[in-house]
C-alpha cells in the first residue's frame, strides 16, 4: 500500500522526466503491471502538455519561419565538409610505409567524402522531386531527336533536376543542357551522356537569382562547350 501511494506521488514526476534512476525504475515496474497506472500516466502527460499551453503568449520574431526555411534549404543543397581522416601516428616509420599509410588514408578519406556527397546529392534530389511546388516542364524533342526528358525546378533552390532517357551518343560527344535567361543568354548547367534507361541528373543552377525563361539541350564535343554549337535536340519554355 505504501509502495502504491509512493508510486502514485511519483507518477506525475515521472511524466515530467525529473525522477532519479531508482525512482524511475520503481515507476516503470509499476507501469508494466498496472493498466490503471498507464491510464493515469496518459492523463498526466496530456495535462503537462496542456500546462505548457498556459504560458503567456509571445509572438516569435517574424523572421523565424523564413530563417528556418533557409536553414532547411541549406541542408538540402549544401554538401557537407569533407570528413576528416584519421590522424597519422607520430612514429618514426620508414618512408615507404608512411607513404603507403598516407595513400591509404587519402583513399579512405576520398571514398568517405564521395559517399557523403553522394548521399547528400541523393537527399537534395529527393527533396526537389518531392516538393509539391516544383515546376515540371517536359522538354520537346527537336530536329528528329528521340527520348523523353523532364526538367524540374523549385524556385530559389540552387539545384534542379533533369530526368528521363535519351539515346547514346558517339564517345566523342555529349549532351549539354542550357538555361536561357531573360536576355537570351545561354548558361551551361549540365554536360552528360545519353542513357538507355530512365535516369535522374542533379545539377546546379548557374545563377539562382537569374530568371530563366527556357531550357535547351544540344549535342557538343565531349566535355562541353562554352556556347551552343549545334541546333537543340530538346527544348521548351519555362513558365513565368
Amino acid at each position: 500500500m505504501n509502495d502504491h501511494h509512493s508510486s502514485s506521488d511519483l507518477l506525475p514526476l515521472y511524466a515530467l522526466g525529473v525522477l532519479s534512476e531508482p525512482e524511475r525504475a520503481q515507476i516503470e515496474a509499476w507501469l508494466a503491471q498496472s493498466a490503471e497506472a498507464r491510464e493515469a500516466l496518459k492523463e498526466y502527460q496530456a495535462m503537462f502538455t496542456a500546462l505548457a499551453a498556459t504560458v503567456p503568449l509571445r509572438k516569435a520574431p517574424a523572421s523565424l519561419t523564413s530563417d528556418f526555411r533557409d536553414r532547411l534549404a541549406a541542408i538540402a543543397t549544401n554538401a557537407p565538409a569533407p570528413q576528416k581522416s584519421g590522424k597519422l601516428p607520430v612514429r618514426r616509420l620508414r618512408w615507404v610505409v608512411a607513404l603507403a599509410a598516407l595513400l591509404l588514408i587519402g583513399i579512405t578519406g576520398i571514398a568517405a567524402y564521395a559517399l557523403v556527397v553522394a548521399q547528400n546529392n541523393a537527399q537534395t534530389l529527393q527533396a526537389i522531386l518531392l516538393n509539391n511546388k516544383a515546376t515540371r516542364v517536359a522538354l520537346v524533342p527537336q530536329n528528329g531527336a528521340s527520348g523523353t526528358l523532364t526538367f524540374i525546378r523549385v524556385d530559389s533552390n540552387s539545384n534542379c533536376v533533369l530526368e528521363g532517357q535519351l539515346p547514346l551518343l558517339p564517345s566523342e560527344e555529349q549532351y549539354q543542357l542550357w538555361l536561357v535567361n531573360q536576355n537570351g543568354e545561354r548558361e551551361s548547367s549540365l554536360v552528360f551522356d545519353g542513357v538507355q534507361e530512365f535516369h535522374q541528373w542533379l545539377m546546379a543552377v548557374p545563377d539562382v537569382n537569374d530568371h530563366y525563361v527556357a531550357v535547351s539541350i544540344t549535342v557538343e564535343k565531349r566535355g562541353g562547350s562554352t556556347i551552343p554549337t549545334s541546333p537543340p535536340v530538346f527544348a521548351n519554355q519555362l513558365p513565368e
Binding site: 506521488d9 506525475p12 514526476l13 515530467l16 522526466g17 525529473v18 525522477l19 532519479s20 492523463e43 498526466y44 502527460q45 496530456a46 495535462m47 503537462f48 502538455t49 496542456a50 500546462l51 505548457a52 499551453a53 498556459t54 504560458v55 503567456p56 503568449l57 509571445r58 509572438k59 516569435a60 520574431p61 523565424l64 519561419t65 530563417d67 528556418f68 526555411r69 536553414r71 532547411l72 534549404a73 538540402a76 537527399q123 529527393q126 527533396a127 518531392l130 516538393n131 509539391n132 511546388k133
Partner: protein, 180 residues
C-alpha cells in the same frame, strides 16, 4: 491541412510541409521556451532546434503516443532544459507575480483535433489559484526540469517540504484537469 497529414508529408521530406508546421506552432513553442529561459535569443535558438529535430526525427513520431503538438512541446522542454543546465539554471518562477496577465490570452493556435482545448483554460485558472509556494515548486520542476532534491537545494528547503508542496499542487491541477 491537419497536423497528422503534415507529419506524413514531413516523413517524406516535404520541406514545405515542415515550414507550414513551423509557421503554425512557432509562437507557442517560442512562448514556452521564453518562459523557461527568459531570454529571446536562446528561446529563438531552441525553437529552431526543435523544428530541426522534428525534421530529422519525423519518422519516429507515433500518433498513438499523443498529438503532434505534444511531441513538439516535449522536444521544446527538453532542449530548453538542456540550455538551462548549460548556463547553470537561473529559473524565474512567477512567485508572487500574478498570472492575470496571461488571462487575456485567449489561446494559442492549438490543433483542432486536440480534445483538451477547453481543459487548457481550466488548467490555467487552477495554476493561477495555486498557493505561491506550490506553484513555485511545480514551475521549477516543469519549466526548470529540476528533481525534488534539486528544488530542495535550490530553495534551501527540507526535501519533505518540497515533496508535500509538490504533491498538493499537482493534486489540485489533476483535479481541475479531470473535472472537465
Amino acid at each position: 491541412m491537419d497536423d497528422l497529414s503534415l507529419i506524413g508529408r514531413i516523413k517524406r521530406k516535404d520541406q514545405e510541409a515542415m515550414v507550414t508546421l513551423h509557421a503554425r506552432y512557432a509562437d507557442l513553442l517560442y512562448s514556452i521556451a521564453y518562459r523557461m529561459l527568459n531570454e529571446t535569443s536562446s528561446a529563438e535558438e531552441v525553437v529552431q532546434d526543435v523544428f530541426m529535430k522534428a525534421w530529422q526525427n519525423a519518422a519516429q513520431f507515433d500518433d498513438q503516443r499523443g498529438p503532434v503538438i505534444a511531441w513538439l512541446i516535449g522536444i521544446t522542454r527538453n532542449l530548453a532544459i538542456d540550455h538551462l543546465r548549460q548556463r547553470g539554471r537561473q529559473i524565474e518562477t512567477t512567485g508572487d507575480r500574478s498570472l492575470e496577465d496571461s488571462e487575456e490570452i485567449t489561446g494559442f493556435n492549438l490543433p483542432d483535433d486536440w480534445q483538451d482545448r477547453e481543459r487548457v483554460n481550466s488548467l490555467r485558472f487552477a495554476v493561477n489559484d495555486l498557493p505561491a509556494e506550490q506553484r513555485q515548486v511545480i514551475e521549477l520542476s516543469y519549466f526548470g526540469g529540476m528533481s525534488q532534491s534539486e528544488i530542495a537545494d535550490y530553495l534551501a528547503l527540507p526535501l519533505g517540504t518540497v515533496k508535500t508542496r509538490m504533491r498538493l499542487g499537482l493534486q489540485k491541477l489533476r483535479d481541475a484537469w479531470l473535472k472537465e
